[in-house]
């Protein structure tokens, strides 16, 4: 297989959030109080290449940085360090016109459609506004275009004069998808887009995602904590822990023989339909605060296999098999 140019590439991307000192703390510092700005490294030095037409799943527990990474990919947040490339060009360095094209090409679909759909706008406006503003369709053709987009996601175009609250949860999810599709994107970043839906509706929306991928040759970044959904839909999966990718592998490989101890633990905990009266035996402890992550490998305090090196040295993401990499010192030990 030749490596075609990735449609989106992340190069050593970090995203930091800083809580600045308030006035009292600043005054305190003048008098020698030991207060520092609090810095959260939500995404810590991540590199990832997404090929055209691929579905990449981003999984991890709350606070692992998967949503932040999704937002950096979608361009709604700029990285603090590193670069995001769209078709080989660094997005932040683009001129206004190219930047707009890149931003339109990468769209985002959110978890809660009620929080991301303006309750005072009719569906036709929600879906039709952006393509008209960006000159993708003329105002005259907007109505037909909206109807076509609604049909594509399985909504009845005769409901286009309604407001978001008049729809069910599953239909709202479809509206969010239609709005993203209306600007003819190439990449969709789905942030927990099916998490709030009932099982039978979730299946419908996942099927819709898969059909759209075929019809429109879309590339997906699928951010989710639901490993079952990610396993079903993704070609490759990146597992994140405290801001870092700890394992990146084709879906089959990852789910059949996870390499990283965290991935192993995570997969073992997933409740499965096939399990019977399972003895849940959990990974001990919780995710440490990202304000003050552990030294070395972030996972070492919870890792059953941790040894001295894990406490001091950060393991880098290394290839353990073709297209399969993991960040764990154990892999050096075995070799």
């Amino acid at each position: 297989m030749t490596t075609p140019e990735p449609i989106v590439a992340l190069e050593d991307v970090s995203k930091r959030f800083v809580k600045p000192l308030d006035t009292a703390e600043k005054i305190g510092r003048i008098f020698g109080a030991n207060v520092k700005e609090e810095v959260v490294r939500a995404v810590d030095d991540v590199s990832l290449q997404i090929a055209e037409g691929e579905v990449v799943g981003l999984v991890g527990e709350s606070g692992c940085g998967k949503s932040t990474l999704g937002r950096v990919i979608a361009g709604t947040m700029n990285p603090s360090e590193g670069a995001v490339r769209y078709r080989g060009v660094i997005v932040e360095g683009m001129n206004a016109q190219d930047r707009r094209r890149a931003d339109l090409a990468i769209q985002m679909i959110f978890q809660d459609p009620m929080a991301s759909l303006n309750p005072r706008m009719r569906i036709a406006e929600i879906i039709g506004e952006a393509p008209v503003v960006h000159g993708l369709v003329s105002r005259r053709d907007a109505e037909a275009y909206v109807a076509e987009t609604m049909q594509r996601v399985g909504l009845d175009p005769s409901t286009r004069k309604r407001y978001p609250h008049q729809f069910s949860g599953g239909q709202r999810a479809r509206i969010g998808i239609a709005r993203a599709l209306a600007v003819k994107p190439e990449v969709l970043v789905c942030d927990e887009s099916t998490a709030a839906l009932d099982v039978s509706i979730q299946a419908q929306v996942i099927n819709l995602f898969m059909r759209l991928r075929e019809d429109l040759r879309l590339t997906y970044v699928f951010v989710s904590h639901d490993l079952g959904v990610v396993e079903h839909i993704s070609d490759r999966v990146a597992v994140m822990y405290l801001g870092r990718i700890v394992e990146l592998a084709p879906t089959d490989s990852l789910f059949s023989g996870p390499n990283h101890p965290y991935t192993q633990a995570l997969l073992a905990e997933v409740p499965r339909l096939e399990a019977r009266k399972k003895k849940f035996s959990a990974l001990k402890g919780e995710i440490p605060t990202p304000l003050n992550p552990p030294s070395g490998c972030h996972f070492h305090p919870r890792c059953p296999f941790a040894f001295d090196r894990c406490k001091v040295e950060r393991p880098m993401l290394k290839e353990v098999a073709p297209r399969w990499s993991a960040a764990c010192h154990l892999n050096d030990k075995a070799a």
Binding site: S200, A203, S281
Partner: protein, 329 residues
């Protein structure tokens, strides 16, 4: 065999609204034995949470419990019991944990205040003894340094830890029955597994029976002994976990289980149930599932089918069940 801890018979709960009375729970019957876990599964609006609340006697006006309903705890009738008697049972013989632990916890009181209050409400013990009990309860649910944590406020705990505290409070008096309403839904998988494993262990030590309300079939698969699947206020199928999840009789249960991603080949379209759950105000006549059901015929549009018994102690309400799945294991 001894009688079940909880026996629910013909329970109906309706809510008055402008569109007339909406029946959220419609004539359901089930029982839970000592030490047993019953998974109550269904999608939003199926009536599963209302069932849980009804068991605790927490249905307030405009909600009404139907005339023929009976809820017996250890043989004692709870429907129509005066509030002050119910209050004596709640927390002692009957406890509930909610999806959001902040429903249980008071944000402005320290954990020790709340737990000591919960102990002394039902037992005449000194504050010191109550504190010791609280400390022990926190330790049992896996909270490190319980002495220190007793002095903390709820906001100083993480989500998983808060849920543990809520569980510790619920289990303080070793209740006969614990109703759990989606207690792990908001938690991460590793934390969910920790909490379920602790609840499993505690329940097996104390013999507490559990009704575990959830939409997540996979959690039920690993945790419950028996399952009841609800749709539009009715239990459409109930039986052992193995029977229902592996050989469902009712087309709804069949469709629901079939649409779980792990039951499908990766990358292939998921088996899906067409349409959506009907609103309670506009339930279709007959079996409420018939508009979405691939097996529906004219008879389904007439009357709700009665609950029919099948081998292995299963029941299903359907005119056209998947009979090929009937054989009990």
């Amino acid at each position: 065999m001894s009688h079940p801890v909880l026996e629910v018979k013909n329970l109906s709960v309706s809510f008055g609204s402008r569109e007339g009375a909406l029946t959220a729970v419609n004539d359901i019957s089930f029982h839970v034995d000592r030490g047993e876990v019953l998974g109550l599964v269904g999608e939003s609006g199926s009536g599963k949470s209302v069932t849980g609340l009804a068991i605790l006697g927490l249905i307030d006006a405009p909600g009404r419990i139907g005339a023929n309903s009976s809820i017996r705890l250890d043989g004692q009738e709870l429907v129509g019991m005066p509030e002050h008697e119910l209050r004596r049972l709640r927390g002692r013989k009957l406890a509930m944990i909610f999806q959001d632990p902040m429903t249980t916890l008071n944000p402005v009181l320290r954990i020790d205040t709340q737990m000591i209050e919960a102990v002394t409400a039902h037992e005449n013990v000194s504050e010191r003894a109550a504190r010791a009990r609280a400390r022990e309860a926190l330790q049992r649910v896996g909270i490190p340094s319980p002495d220190e944590r007793l002095l903390a406020y709820p906001h100083q705990f993480s989500g998983g830890m808060r849920q543990r505290v809520a569980i510790a409070i619920a289990l303080l008096h070793r209740p006969a029955l614990l109703v759990a309403d989606e207690p792990t839904t908001a938690l991460d998988v590793t934390i969910q597994a920790q909490i379920i494993s602790e609840v499993q262990e505690l329940a097996s030590q104390t013999g507490t029976a559990m009704v575990w309300v959830t939409h997540d079939l996979s959690v039920v698969a690993g945790l419950a002994d028996r399952v009841a699947v609800m749709y539009a206020g009715r239990i459409v199928e109930q039986g052992s976990v193995v029977d229902v999840l592996e050989r469902p009789l009712h087309p709804y249960a069949h469709g629901l289980i079939g649409s779980v991603p792990s039951r499908n080949k990766r990358g292939s379209p998921l088996a899906q149930i067409p349409g959506m759950t009907p609103s309670l105000g506009r339930l279709p006549p007959g079996c409420a599932f018939h508009p979405r059901c691939p097996r529906a015929t004219d008879i389904c549009r007439g009357e709700w089918p009665e609950a029919t018994a099948y081998p292995g102690g299963r029941t299903a309400r359907c005119y056209h069940p998947h009979l090929e799945n009937e054989v009990a294991a």
